[in-house]
């Protein structure tokens, strides 16, 4: 009972619970920003680090939390909840988890407020830090980007778990007994991620099982989330971040520009992230839901019906939280997207691809100039490009010219019409052949001509058979003589070898 608690203890306890609630929200939201968090230890107490933990305070998040609490404290029947949801670039959304800070009636009268409760709340915050990295939403939040973003909503009152779908799991982070009740922190998370295939929301598997810090594809410019009306980046004017988010006024433009032009390192800007004021902390991030111009977190839309609701419920009229309907819609949209992706990859016309195969132009095949349209495009392998526009009747590859019966079928296919007939017949290379990389056969000293002229170079003297045996005999005879000379000069050779070593 409160009567047993001294006024000072009561005051302290209220303060602890209030700041614990605020820090809880900070830890949860920061864990869903999509970036690794790093804060420094400090051996000297600064006096401002509640629970002796270095947890930064994002002002907008604190503001939202305070707004939700509206001067009250979590108590029996009054829970503070942080809802984490996912919103795709098409505007579909899904609740992923709900963190609840509750108080029940079980009191621990003997516990020391200023010491034990405080330390246990500190341990509980550490546990929260650990558990926030373990629930499935963490991995999703680390991969947010152009496909989807992660949003948060803080509310006070009754816990709402209906949006988590069937079969949601609960993990208890911890409890701390106090003289006025037991503080409980828990998380209920969705397990049924039905409309999210692993293909859509996970990056490709790392090669050889090692995480490679590879770049992330820049998001498409035309994939603009419809409902991202509140996506703005809080940025102090003198901050320079490579220009991806220079004081954007219209939030929708942020989405477009960031998706189409942002280099990989600035991809984070499209996520739930925050950029602190210049004297602020080390971590750089931009928030969703923050109004531009450096104001504190206020929805850009007219006030939503719920007090502290920064979820985009206003413009999401079709997306009211419901169970199966939304999921079906989401499933279809997801699949549709995938089909489109797949369709763009495969050839649209199987007949054309077949023609491309049969019409492949081999090297050295002479084609009448009228058909060399692709070559005029000045492409390196233009000669090999399938010519879908040419009619089949003129194509000698499809309809080879009539050949003399004595010729082999191979020669018939190789000798195209318009062959001059001159040149050596014995090496199966045509008269007017078109060597690879050759552009035009009309020039006098062309690659083809060069090939022909220097096709049969004279044999090297040492390689010619009738002289080789003779020279071999000569070599053998001269060998002893040579050996005698070398042995005489052996000192010189040794000195040379030593020099080399």
């Amino acid at each position: 009972m409160d009567g047993d608690l001294s006024p000072q203890d009561k005051k302290d306890l209220d303060k602890f619970i209030k700041f614990f609630a605020l820090k809880t929200v900070q830890v949860i939201v920061q864990a869903r920003l999509g970036e690794k968090i790093c804060t420094r230890s400090s051996s000297s107490p600064t006096g401002s680090d509640w629970f002796n933990l270095a947890i930064k305070d994002i002002p907008e998040v604190t503001h939202e939390a305070k707004k939700a609490l509206a001067g009250q404290l979590p108590g029996i029947g009054r829970s503070m909840c942080v809802e984490i949801s996912l919103k795709t670039s098409e505007g579909d959304s899904m609740e992923l988890e709900t963190w609840c800070l509750e108080m029940n009636e079980k009191c621990d009268k003997d516990i020391k407020v200023s010491y034990t409760v405080y330390n246990r709340l500190s341990v509980l915050l550490k546990s929260l830090l650990a558990i926030t990295r373990v629930t499935p939403a963490y991995k999703l939040s680390r991969k947010q980007g152009h496909d989807y973003v992660i949003l948060y909503r803080i509310y006070f009152g009754e816990v709402q778990l209906g949006g988590l779908g069937e079969g949601f799991q609960t993990v208890r982070v911890g409890v701390v007994g106090t003289p006025v009740g037991t503080v409980t922190l828990s998380c209920a998370y969705r397990t049924n991620l039905a409309f999210m295939s692993s293909r859509q929301f996970e990056r490709s598997a790392p090669i050889m099982g090692i995480i490679v810090d590879h770049f992330v594809d820049a998001p498409c410019g035309n994939q603009r989330p419809i409902t991202m009306g509140q996506l703005c980046n809080y940025r102090p004017p003198d901050e320079d971040d490579g220009g991806a988010f220079a004081g954007v006024q219209d939030s929708q433009e942020v989405c477009t520009t960031s998706f189409s032009t942002s280099p990989p390192s600035q991809l984070y800007a499209s996520r739930l992230s925050y950029q602190p004021a210049p004297p602020g902390g080390a971590a750089e991030f931009n928030t969703n839901q923050v109004k531009e111009g450096g104001n504190v977190l206020v929805p850009a839309q007219p006030q939503p019906p719920h007090g502290a609701d920064v979820h985009l419920t206003i413009e999401n009229a079709p997306n009211t939280p419901s169970s199966s309907g939304d999921e079906d819609g989401l499933l279809q949209s997801g699949e549709g997207r995938r089909d489109d992706g797949r369709r763009s990859v495969s050839p649209s016309d199987p007949v054309e691809s077949l023609n491309a195969f049969t019409r492949k132009v081999g090297a050295f095949v002479n084609k009448p100039n009228t058909q060399i349209t692709a070559a005029s495009l000045d492409l390196p392998f233009a000669a090999f490009a399938p010519r879908g526009l040419d009619s089949e009747e003129n194509d000698p590859m499809v309809r080879p010219p009539d050949s003399p019966p004595s010729q082999s079928p191979l020669q018939a296919s190789l000798h195209s019409q318009g062959s001059d007939g001159s040149g050596p017949q014995d090496d199966f290379v045509m008269v007017d052949f078109r060597p690879a990389f050759s552009k035009d056969d009309l020039l006098p000293m062309d690659l083809g001509t060069f090939y022909r002229e220097f096709q049969n170079p004279p044999q090297l003297a040492s390689l010619s058979l009738h002289t080789s045996s003779q020279s071999m005999a000569d070599d053998l005879d001269s060998l002893p003589e040579k050996l005698r000379v070398y042995e005489k000069n052996i000192d010189e050779f040794d000195a040379f070898v030593d020099m080399l070593q």
Partner: protein
């Protein structure tokens, strides 16, 4: 006083041993470390601030939180590295993190170390045949580690016995004050290796020789 003992078991690939062990040890130490104590004249003390850091594992789909202290990380990594080197490619081992209190004894007796909490991490190492299995292993081990972290948190939040906060003269009997930025409870890390049965080793050798001869 009874010593609380907890056992965590994991099955990992050889290259995951280090990260899995670090993840669990650091998670425990995060909860068992405070800021540096600064005692004041009146007998009160103030406590420094503990920073935290997210660490992504390279071989496991997992991220864990550790205390931001390079010194502490170095000490833990050294112990884990020795443990990993001692483990064979398909063996079993156990690494233990023991929190203890020192009880000063009179000369000539040395100080007594009384453990109050022991965490044992049993590690079984497996060999996998192909990349697909390894990929599955990455994810599975990540999930398993998540469950272990939840187990750790559950035990710690029972708020069972913890040493009393010491006076200035006794602080070294309870806490490790050698680090300059954080102050974990006094702890030590030990390990033991349970090699797999002799037959499995010889089977592997036989197979190797057979394969070589078959070429």
């Amino acid at each position: 006083m009874n010593c609380r003992s907890e056992v965590l078991e994991v099955t990992v690939e050889a290259r995951q041993v280090e990260e899995a062990t670090l993840a669990l040890l650091h998670t425990i130490l995060l909860h068992r470390s405070t800021g540096k104590f600064h005692y004041k004249k009146e007998g009160t003390y103030s406590i420094g601030t503990v920073g935290t850091q997210d660490i992504d594992c390279d071989f496991i789909d997992f991220t864990f939180v550790r205390v931001s202290s390079e010194e502490l990380d170095r000490v833990i990594r050294k112990a884990v590295s020795e443990f990993k080197d001692a483990l064979s490619s398909d063996g079993m081992g156990q690494i233990s993190l023991e929190f203890y209190q020192k009880k000063k004894s009179r000369w000539p007796f040395s100080d007594e170390c009384i453990p109050w909490e022991v965490w044992s991490i049993k590690v079984s190492v497996v060999n996998l045949a192909n990349e697909q299995e390894r990929q599955i292993c990455r994810e599975k081990v990540g999930e398993k580690l998540g469950e272990k972290v939840i187990n750790v948190v559950e035990v710690i939040n029972r708020h069972e016995y913890l040493p009393k906060m010491p006076t200035q003269s006794e602080v070294d009997n309870v806490f490790d004050t050698s680090l300059k930025d954080v102050q974990p409870y006094l702890h030590k890390i030990t390990y033991q290796i349970t090699d797999s049965l002799g037959t499995s080793v010889s089977t592997t050798m036989r197979r190797l020789i057979k394969d070589t001869l078959a070429l």
